[in-house]
């Protein structure tokens, strides 16, 4: 067995150990077909990381695609009768890489929970996300945001659609001065703009950030989201997950699809996030499903860098 592990690449080893982790947590392996109807991606193209999809025509004339994403297929092909359906996957997806502007095959592992998603489900998914990172590299961080706090603050000040999109981009860049400039341009007072800027400047360990969130809770909706975030952090602490957690509102997923908790995982030495996830009730609604959903994906392609670094060290 040791020999088998030795010939596997870092990606493969990590993928298998993640699958074992999800299996032990009671998740079922989700097997999917290699191809998917192209129409699925056209209808939800903003959900995809990159718009480009490899397509081809099947023998019956149907336009098919090589999967650029796994979540959409799982949602489309499953019906949850009652309770929560918990599945995990390890699949290859086909996306355009930014550097070469050409398609690459990327391995991705992850899990999805569909159905009656409760606070416990969210805590469980976050704890598995954190454990996934621990499996990959001990030097890791999981950053958590609550999108309802962000959208609540923007709605409280009646920020228009266009300015909202701009603020979200700048929030993702941690660009405080640009966020302030947009807020002031929208006619907000200096104090109101300062409050929106707190979304940029408030980040760090939960014990530091959570008490400070009260000042942002200017509406009952935001207060509810803050309370939910606090309860989730407490729930994680009860599972022994306290360290290497960060609250950071610069994790901004597309609000048309995502809501509630959003999160991203980083490991030291890999320049971009290797884990990304969140609640996506908006996407389910768009696909005419009544369920709620939460899940995450781990991008395995970046992990080869990690092995390379360890080798050099």
């Amino acid at each position: 067995m040791d020999n088998i592990l030795a010939i596997m690449s870092a990606e493969e080893r990590a993928a298998f150990s993640l699958c074992a982790l999800y299996e032990r947590a009671g998740y079922q392996k989700y097997r999917m077909s290699k191809f998917e109807e192209y129409a699925l991606y056209v209808q939800n193209k903003d959900f995809l990381v990159s718009e480009n999809v490899i397509t081809f025509t099947d023998t019956d004339g149907k336009l098919l695609a090589l999967k650029p994403d796994v979540t959409l297929s799982i949602i489309k092909n499953t019906r949850v009768k009652n309770g929560v359906m918990k599945v995990y996957y390890k699949e290859n997806v086909y996306r355009v890489s930014k550097g070469t502007r050409s398609f690459r095959e990327l391995m991705q592992a992850g899990l999805e929970c569909l159905g009656e998603v409760t606070a416990e489900t969210v805590i469980e998914v976050l704890s598995l996300a954190k454990k996934s990172l621990d499996h990959i590299c001990p030097e890791n961080l999981l950053e958590i945001s609550h999108l309802d706090i962000v959208s609540g603050v923007l709605s409280a000040f009646h920020i228009g659609e266009e300015a909202r999109a701009e603020i979200l981009v700048h929030l993702g860049e941690k660009n405080e001065s640009a966020v302030r400039a947009v807020a002031l341009r929208e006619g907000l007072s200096a104090e109101q703009a300062a409050l929106i800027c707190r979304l940029v400047t408030l980040y760090g360990a939960p014990e530091k950030v959570l008490p400070a969130l009260k000042e942002l809770a200017v509406t009952p909706e935001i207060a509810a989201a803050v309370a939910e975030l606090c309860a989730i952090v407490e729930g994680l602490a009860a599972l022994g997950i306290k360290d290497r957690l960060i609250i950071d509102f610069s994790v901004v997923n597309d609000m048309n699809y995502y809501n509630g908790i959003a999160f991203k995982g980083f490991v030291e030495g890999v320049p971009a996030g290797i884990l990304s996830g969140g609640e996506y009730d908006g996407l389910l609604k768009k696909m005419q499903k009544k369920e709620r959903g939460i899940g995450f994906a781990v991008y395995m392609d970046e992990l080869s860098r990690l092995e390379q670094m360890k080798g050099e060290a």
């Binding site: 001065s177 960060i246 030495g269 890999v270």
Partner: protein
């Protein structure tokens, strides 16, 4: 020992000004001032490593994690849209992204406008927002001669004082984005070296106030 903070600076006059700010902020590296052809300089005691790179490459070094932080012009950030944090406007190297044309030029909206530029994405986004049909001629330098030789109707380029334009009989039609140097950080690097990068940003912010 402090973890080493990797800093990418743009080669040239702007880079030197930026380094002076970093030094005053407490992130000095004396060997950088020595005359040499070296590109990498390290001050182990202060925990910093600097490297000089082509200004338009700084964002790539930072996005890909070779540098934790760097200084890049807003023009480069708009053009390449790297996935990085933009932490501070250093208010150095101020200029504007402009549309310029031969003196007396008027835009005939009945025909496609030919635009010569280094900044293809910025030009596209600018004219798309106006709903103007354009064709782009991508050039890497001496953009100013394109309208003179009839290669394009207008140019989209950064303009500081406007002297080059004037000398070539061109004038600014429109200034549409203010440009200046920005402190940027790699998203992952920022998480693992938060305190040091925050300290750098705060010290630099103090110096920007003084400017």
């Amino acid at each position: 020992m402090k973890p080493i903070l990797n800093i990418a600076l743009p080669k040239g006059r702007l880079g030197e000004k930026v380094y002076a700010m970093f030094e005053r902020a407490g992130f000095g590296c004396p060997s950088i001032l020595e005359e040499s052809r070296k590109l990498i300089f390290e001050n182990e005691e202060a925990g910093v490593r600097y490297f000089w790179v082509k200004p338009s490459d700084v964002a790539i070094y930072v996005e890909r994690g070779a540098a934790d932080v760097g200084v890049a012009g807003k023009d480069i950030l708009l053009e390449y849209a790297p996935d990085v944090y933009e932490l501070l406007d250093l208010k150095l190297g101020k200029c504007s992204m402009c549309v310029a044309a031969k003196k007396g030029f008027t835009d005939d909206r009945n025909r496609t406008l030919t635009v010569a530029t280094k900044f293809t994405n910025i030009a596209k986004a600018h004219y798309a927002a106006e709903g103007r049909d354009i064709d782009i001629v991508h050039l890497n330098g001496s953009i100013e001669i394109a309208p003179i030789l009839g290669l394009s109707d207008v140019i989209v380029d950064i303009v500081e004082t406007g002297t080059t334009l004037k000398e070539n009989d061109l004038e600014v039609v429109e200034r549409f984005v203010p440009i200046s140097a920005r402190l940027i950080a790699n998203k992952s690097g920022f998480k693992f070296k938060t305190e040091r990068i925050e300290k750098l940003r705060e010290s630099l912010a103090g110096l920007v106030e003084e400017l």
